[in-house]
Structure formats: structure tokens, C-alpha cells
Amino acid sequence: MRDVFIAGVGLTPAGEHWDKSLRELAFYAIEAVARDAPRPNPEALFVANMLGGPLSHQAHLGALVADFAGLRGIEAVSVEAAGASGAAALRQAYLAVAAGAAESALVVGVEKMTDKVGPGVAAAMATSADSDWESAQGATPTALAALLMRRYMHAHGVALKDFANFSVNAHANARSNPNAMFRNALTAEAFVKAGVVADPINMFDTAPECDGAAALLVTSRPTPDHPAIRIAASTMATDTLAVHDRPDPLVFEAARFSAAKAYGTSGITPNQIQVFELYDAFTIFSALSLEAAGFAEPGLGWKLAADNEISINGRVPISTFGGLKARGNPGGATGVYQVAETVLQLRGEAGPNQVKGARYGMSQSIGGAGSTVVTHIFERVD
């Protein structure tokens, strides 16, 4: 298959946008990508979204967004893989362009989380878990992550405070990101004292669900407007839908598998990755992702945070624009934000958040508690 490039990125602020609708948020992201990559001429549109049906009473987002954004007539479809939706949509665009079915494709991730408030949102979020065997028991995504975290702490002798720096680092990096939801500093002391959501997970451990939209222009040729960013690997893997069906729940097997496949197809090793935008919906996800992607031994992912090797100047920079924790977690759009932020790093356009000399970057998005994992590796081609 031929080379595929990210020619344009479009980011909009993540947060609570009470005055904006699903279609408007998507359109603003498309406007943003058109400012970044003038004259986009996409032949296909992939819309990533998780909860338009249950929260906004709106499915069929391919036609909705194509119509509203003035792209009427274009091939368009929505892609859903829970929290991995955005990255899964990029993979569909990648496949279309790599196969020669399109010269360029647009990826738009959009989530309108605030169209509902209260227990209805929690019920919608719980549809990403196993409905018959997890959600029916009152288990929520946060509860499932909490079950993993408690077992991890028990198995590896780790305390809550050992996870603090994942969130502290995310908030520190978000301070200079105009699109971040929370740009306030967070201290390790405040982290351990925060109100409990589902113990041991507290308010400063979990990423805030919010509205947001981001877009990518995927092309067969690099744009002259920016340094060329090539998709060096695009991989996807699945694990059991329910956590209880896994031989070892403390291994994110789909993350391990999709990362290994990405390293294998690109020939790029974890040592070469200079930025890793991982899926920090919960700090335990960060620890398990670092282990699955080969940056830490099993049971030692937390230590990269505790030893502060995850900062922008550290050995494994993560959440460089605030991550899900501080930039915000707009569901189906999240994977697109992660990719766009990785691309900005490799272009050298990350401003105060720049990882010096970054040439290789990786982003990884997780659907459910590790059930779908999509990994992308990007390379700046000089």
C-alpha cells in the first residue's frame, strides 16, 4: 500500500458548550482543519462519535455532518468503537487512501456530551461495557477501571499517591493549551485528597467527559504548508468486551497486540518514540498502557509517573497537551485530538508544549476497559 500523510489538523476547545449542537461542533472542527490545510478537497468523510444516539437522539452522522459542512454528495459514514472511535475513524481514512480508493479523506471526531445531564449520561457511557453481564450489574466504566486499579495496587504493592503524577503532569501540560478544559495546576496533595468517584478512583484520577470536536485531513501526498507527517503504522486490535472474561485482567492485551503490530509494520521501536499520546481516561489506564506498549515492565508503569519520566522533557513524554485528564475527554472525538496533538509535536508547532526534536510519535486510543485499541505511529519526513 502507498504512503499516507496527515496534511491538516483542526482543533476546537474541549469543554461544556451548552450553546452549540453536535453538527455545529463538527463544522467548527472542519473549519479549523481548512485553516490549517487550505484548499482541502476530501473525497470521503469519516465521522467518529460515541453517543449521538442516546444523548442527542441523533444517529446517521455521516450524512448530517457532510450536509451541514457543505460537503453534500460526498461519501460519508460514522465510525463507533467507544473511546477508540476517533482513532478507528482515522484508520478507516488511512485504509481508503492507502488502498487508492481516495486521494484525500476527512476525519471528524465529535461528541456532544452535555445534551443530557445526570444518570442518563452514566447509562449512555455504560453502553460501551458488556450490557448483559457488566452494565446490568450496575457497573460503570469508572467502576470497571476502579476494579482494575484496586487489583493492580494489591498485586504490585502500589499506593494511590504513586499514581498522582499522571494527573499532575497532565494539568501542568494543559496550562498552555488553549483548547484544554482544565488549565489549572494540580498538586499531588490535592490528588490524594480528592472526592471519591468509585474507590480507589477519585475526581482527580478520572478524565472529565465533555463536548468537543477535532478533525484531520488524510492525503496521499504531503502538503507544502507544513512539514510532512507520514502515518508509519495504523493498527487495531480487540480483547474481550467484558473485563471478567480475560485470563489476566491486569494486562491490556489489545493494547499490547496493536502496539507490537505497529512496531513490527513500521520498523520503529519504543526507544525511538519521542511522544506518546496515550489514553489516560484513568491513571490506571496510563500505567497499563505504558506496560502494554513496552515502555515499562508489567507492574511498573506507575513508576514512570512516580519518577517523573513522563513530563515534556522526560524520557517518555505523555499527555503533552493535557491528555484526556486536563484537555478533556470528548468521547468519540478524543482519539482525533490525540492524533492532532501528536502531529503538532512532530511538525514542531507545539509552542510551549514542544517536545524538542520530536520526529517519531505514537498515539493510542482505548475503547471500553481495553476492549478495542487503535495505535498509530507517525513520522516526520524531511
Binding site: W133, A136, G138, A139, L147, R151, H154, V196, D199, P249
Partner: protein
């Protein structure tokens, strides 16, 4: 109303009926008709004893629709004595009386309610072991 969705799982919800693999004898819950161990066909029903121990647990304060009246409630991964893990609520637990490894047994309790005039859904939960049989 989603009666059929719950009705068709009554054997599992009320009786913890799973499967046993006729090839490698691995016990399977929830049933999935294909053995997760040897990938052989596994459709032989098997009734679990309902005994096990707590593998992990958490307390939910932010409940989804249908579960609000139980808040806060404890959700656990229970390791059944026959092998499988199952996700279930713990009940009859006083504050702090549960930890990883606590022996538990299955009981039938109300899982959720669909409003004042809606359906009540019953199913398995687990409580710390009362008896020694």
C-alpha cells in the same frame, strides 16, 4: 420496557447456569457456547455453586439510570470456585467489611428498577459467606 432482554437470561440471573466444556472440562460463565480455553464447542449446561471470593471491588457513587436508589453500592469481580470471574454487586456488606479474598456466596436480589411503574429486574449478587456448607 425491555422484558425479553432480561427474561431470556433468567437461568443465569437466578440460577447461575453456565456451561462446562465437554473437551477440556473448563467451566464457563457467562455462557458463550465456545470454550475460551480450547475453542471447542461447549454447550453443556453447568450449575455453579455460587461460592467464590472477592478478586477486586469498588463502591459506585455516581450511578446510571435505574440504579440510583441503591447508591452507594459495591461492585466486585468475584472469582467463582470453579474458576471464572464474574462481575456482580456485593450485598449485606457493612462499611469496610470486605477485602480482596473475602469468601462470598450468591444470593438473589433486586438489580434495577425502571421508574415507579416499571419493571423490577432481579438477579445474582454476592454476600460474605454466612454458612459453612
Amino acid at each position: 420496557m425491555e422484558i425479553s432482554r432480561h427474561w431470556r437470561l433468567q437461568q443465569q440471573r437466578y440460577g447461575l447456569v453456565g456451561e462446562v466444556c465437554p473437551h477440556c472440562e473448563v467451566k464457563i460463565f457467562p455462557p458463550r457456547d465456545v470454550c475460551p480455553n480450547c475453542a471447542g464447542e461447549a454447550k453443556t449446561p453447568y450449575v455453579f455453586t455460587g461460592r467464590g471470593e472477592v478478586f477486586s471491588y469498588t463502591t459506585v457513587y455516581d450511578a446510571p439510570e435505574g440504579y440510583e436508589s441503591n447508591v452507594p453500592y459495591t461492585v466486585a469481580l468475584v472469582k467463582l470456585e470453579e474458576g471464572p470471574l464474574v462481575t456482580a454487586q456485593l450485598t449485606d456488606v457493612e462499611n469496610g467489611q470486605v477485602s480482596i479474598g473475602t469468601p462470598v456466596e450468591m444470593v438473589t436480589r433486586k438489580l434495577r428498577e425502571d421508574g415507579e411503574r416499571g419493571m423490577l429486574v432481579y438477579g445474582y449478587k454476592f454476600r460474605p459467606v454466612l454458612t459453612t456448607n
